[in-house]
């Protein structure tokens, strides 16, 4: 995939995730402060459309961002070729996306 295309997606997802991560960090600190428990987490998320959308968006952005990032590191540090790199990126991205969306369903669906 072309360098400028990868770059554009990488940076757009990065900008998108800045507020998402800020919220995530606040929630983490808040939740652990009250003692991390499944009931606590699920009580907040189950049936919540807002949290469902938030986490879905987060998962999609993180999958794209992470997959492109891993591709870049493999390119520089492992010296892989373009086709292998593209394959790595797609596989890693799709795995992240599937696992991530499954997790969102797990914590949001009633």
């Amino acid at each position: 995939m072309s360098a400028v295309r990868l770059y554009t997606w990488q940076r757009l997802t990065a900008v998108l995730m800045v507020p998402l991560i800020a919220v995530h960090l606040i929630v983490i600190i808040y939740a652990t402060n009250r003692g991390l428990s499944a009931a606590e987490i699920l009580g907040r998320t189950r049936g919540s459309i807002a949290w469902g959308l938030y986490y879905s968006l987060f998962v999609v952005a993180a999958s794209i961002h992470g997959a492109i990032g891993v591709r870049g590191v493999a390119r520089e540090w492992l010296g892989w070729r373009e086709t292998a790199l593209d394959r790595l990126m797609w596989i890693f991205g799709v795995v992240l996306l599937v696992l991530g969306l499954r997790a969102v369903i797990a914590v949001v669906a009633l």
């Binding site: 940076r11 808040y30 991390l36 428990s37 992470g66 590191v73 991530g100």
Partner: protein, 118 residues
């Protein structure tokens, strides 16, 4: 006779380190993310499964690892903001100070998390 040694005196410089920390934190987060999703996915099989895992996270070692993860996320976030600022804002001097500030802020966030945990 031996091969020419790598000359990399610039490597310890603060901004070089900032870029390296950003990369390493990114790789570690990428490695952790599938596990994170798998754990949350436990909730699919019911609250008890997830709680069983969260119970395990009460052990000191896991707590320690968690602090590390929050630190990683904070570091990668702040390092990323640094990159976005460099690439998209009018150039400014004092980049080194910015890198240091980012590091301090990341440690600060991890500190707050630590306090929350204990």
């Amino acid at each position: 006779m031996s091969a020419r040694p790598h000359t990399t005196g610039y490597r310890g410089d603060r901004l070089w380190l900032a870029a390296m920390v950003h990369r390493v934190s990114g790789v570690l987060l990428a490695a952790f993310l599938p596990l994170h999703f798998l754990v949350l996915g436990l909730a699919i099989r019911g609250e008890a499964e997830l709680d069983g895992f969260l119970q395990w996270t009460k052990s000191p070692l896991v707590k320690f690892a968690e602090i590390g993860l929050v630190l990683l996320l904070a570091i990668h976030l702040l390092g990323g903001i640094r990159v976005l600022v460099i690439e998209n804002m009018p150039w400014r001097d004092g980049q080194k100070r910015m890198a240091t500030l980012a590091a301090v802020a990341a440690v600060g966030i991890a500190g707050v998390f630590l306090v929350a945990l204990l």
